[in-house]
Amino acid sequence: MRILFGFACAAALAAVSHLSCAYGQAAATTQSPATRAQAEQDPVLKAMLVELARNQKRLQLQDSEKPYFIEFRIDDVVEYNARAAYGALTGEHQSHSRVARVRVRVGDYKFDNSHAKVDNQILQMLQRFGLGGDGMIAIEVVDDDPVALRFGLWNAADMAYKMALDDLAKKQAELKTVQTPPQANSFAQEKPVIVLEPARHLSLDRETWKQNIVEGSGLILSDPAAKGFAAEIEESKGEVRGRIRTEYLVNTEGAIVRKSYAEYHAETSFSAQAADGMHLERSYPVSATAADGLGTAERFRTGSLHALTGLDELCKAPVVTEEYHGPVLLAGNASAHSFEDFFARAVEAHAPALGSTARTTGAYNSSYHTRVLPDFLTVVDDPTLTTFSGKELNGAYSVDDEGVPAQKVTLVQDGKLVSYLLGREPIRDFPESNGHGRAAAGQAPAPKIGVLKVEAAEGVGEDELEKKLIAMGKDQSLPHVYMVAVLGGGTQPRTMYRIKVEDGSRELVRGGQLGDFNLRSFRSDIVAAGDKPYISNLFGDVPQTVIAPPLLFDDLTVKQAQEKDARLPFYPPPSE
């Protein structure tokens, strides 16, 4: 679940930034390092430490080995949301929950129970939900009652330990069936840190925001600007939510972490069908790490109305019918989105299956030290970067979800892949974590980007980039070229313009899709970059930021999206 920060409705608006947030989210603690004694003043951490000590000392089955590593993590989530439709509130809900995730490892750092092959279908399914392997989850009490808190941890640790013993035996047996020994250790040993950030509290002016989403979702019935097309709007919804995740982590190496993350989000969304039946939608989302970052009621209303009129415009826009091969400009939003969709996954380090000689499992598994981007691009991931161009970066953090301090990692230097993102699962040549082991609440950690920054050596201005795009079209004798302003998921543009080569005039189009757009396009087709990076803050359980400049691709395909056009409504909406 990710929410794009900023505007997603129109290119013109996408340029207006709403990223100003007054409060630092992940500011690195600069005070003197926290101590265990301080940690023990927190009732949750205290209960975790007591139960951890007891398990470390005594969790052992007769004739079996003791765990060499135990980790307790408790995610405390407070969530509020309200929903509206057609100008009326449809729901409101607040919840508070805690889930514990317990990792127990047997064996040693070199070879342990993790990633044992699972042949049972039910276990495979559980693993997809983040269970099994080296972890077990338990629903925890929300009262700070030490005995009840320890009860959940005790149960989960017991199950995790028994499962770990079983898995280690399976993995040892499996090892005998393969020729190539593991290319790296099972688990990286890390220096323990103690980090105690204050727990945050939900602060949202609920009445105001309920009113805002009620009004925003009711614009189709109330605003004169919508009168002309209100009957064509099918769904008109609003939602606001706030969420605090406070994470508590302790492990037998001595790490103690408390960190807290806030997220506020409000959105109006509208859907309609064009006359040919094509489903179209527009939304106006705002997100922030502090409630006042969501902006004023007036701005929310204006943005919502803009999305609504934008939807009407889109419904009337011509459809992409003829397939196109040629230059395509990805504006900052689209460029950042494509890096998140394609590139981010390829640089995550995952140990390959036992017996494999591969370095990792992703698309870049054999690309170490080879060129993956044009030589004028360099990419780093730096979770310690808390602001950029005066804007707060949502993906920043000081310590990851395995208790490892965040580190700046250069992933691509002058076009060449030089590193991967690592959690505590090593791969060949990368024996240690670089502080990118990140986890959603209750889920297993895995390497993920924090603040991914794409830097262009010879960036050019926006106008120049567009001129270049048009010139390339002219060279290829094309009647028009394309510019993607906002990219939805994967290859589906939300906002795309057709630019006439003759006079540079723009026309909004719908129903188009990028074809043959993949990592190969990143390696071979990028010919120029802009000089003004776009900041895309991605909210969700593992918050991330991508900073990328606009990119000009010399050869992409734009084609008609293969979607079924549904029937228009069988009868008109009520005429009120």
Partner: protein
Amino acid sequence: MPKFRCKFQILSLAMCFSLLPHCFTAAAQSAPASTSASPLLDAMTAELSRAMTSLSKAVQPNQQPPYYIGYDAHDATRLNIVAQQGAILSSEENRQRTADITVRVGDWKVDNTHGLHRTSALHSIELPLGDNRAAIARTLWWGTNACYGNALQSYLKVKSELAVQAKEEDTSPDFSRQDAVHAQLAPVAPPPLDRKAWEERIRALSFIFRAHLQININMVALTVSSVNNYFVSSEGSRLVYPHQLIRIVVVAGTRADDGMDISLARTFESRTERDLPAQAELERQIQILAGQLDALRTAPTAEPYNGPALLSGRASAVFFHEVLGHRLEGQRQRGNQEGETFTKDVGKPILPAFLSVADDPTMASFDGTYLNGSYTYDEEGQPAQRVELVQKGVLQQFLMSRMPIANFDTSNGHGRAQMGRMPTGRQGNLIVTSSKAMPEKKLRQLLIEEIKKQNKPYGLYFEDIASGYTLTQRYTPQAFQVIPQLVYRVYADGRPDELVRGVQIVGTPQAALKQILATGDKPGVFNGECGAESGSVPVSAIAPAMLFSGIETQKAPQGKARPPILPSPTAENATEVQ
């Protein structure tokens, strides 16, 4: 298709509790408020009428208009508090208005729900919480549009399937004709509750388990639900009626040294807070449950058995719900997938002549015990009715929704479903009565005589049964299985009864039901949740204790994991390890 037709259980999911209809007598006391307008009901009525009119005007080829539209809205306020080991796991309040939209295309005889397309008539939506009429109308429009689209598509499929398939055995219509129903009972406001005080009470109840160190799973949950239902249909029905329920569920589990997981559950239901057992009584009941669980953990495991057995009233009630009740649900008598065990037996004996069975959802309580399966109107807007299913052993009729079957062409108010599911004939309060009743002491003597007669070392006494399931489809054996919670060996030689664990009752309905020799004179009540294709619905079953000449049991499946290695943290002095 799901393999298991029914699962009768105390709770379907740890955190998912069903609503429970308001008791009939109390509802009837509310003055019919035809004058007091309900903006929601008015908006639903107006939009339904507009939909019927607009859609009958549509004149595209192959676009049949709907012949029936129904809106069924539930305005529900719920409070859920769950505790474990003496602390709160979650405490949430929630209000939601949802509506099930039903659209039927074709005609009464053949429509879009024919055969396996039952669910094509239904679409669920979330409605605005307030009285904003324009928003309510627009939401209903969009939902109805989607529902009609599905119904239309399904109707075309039905038509083409009927054209190529062999003639069906039961050619009953797809929808019964019923009179419009009008009733506007006063909506109820959610009961004022002291949430903090309830959190404290649930915490305290859950705290009892701390003293039971071997119980490593425990949960105490409170659900307070207050629902107002609003129903309108194109037949002209207009209904407003409330449901209220307050329920406490206790579940606990332990693991025997041999790896067998054992769990017990107990529920307490009432319509109002006032009618719940006092805290001291709840505590006492939980103490008993915890004690039983401790005893079960070390009890010997049972061996497969076939011989005389005595079922307590509660156990017999669950047994009848499972073994007989489900097979008397109307829709199971129709279609070439169903086993149709009793379909052709109307007018014939299917039980010993001393037994009669009825289902009476209009009964709000029995002997002071609140009945979970009571309701005033079913999910098709039909008034609840008492139905005599079996009289003096002879089958009379079935539990009917608005889906007709051969010889039964109307509903008898048993079309039930959870929100979002298509209603089918379901049980409400199943009541078994006997004319061969005797004091339970006598029944026990008869059991011992029967054990001796059959030359068995012991018989079985089933004190409590919590759940079970029944297979009713043709490609599975027509078998049932019920999961007892408390089972004792009763020795003929006068030794005390011996608690055993790991028992499951298995059998086939026709054989099992004929083995009943006599019954007790004190009915037992079981309140629970029943799950089947139309979802989870609250039910009750009432029956006297019963003596069976033969009951077959099998071993329960057993895990192999060991009990926890470390003692529960409760047992440890926290300062011991530092």
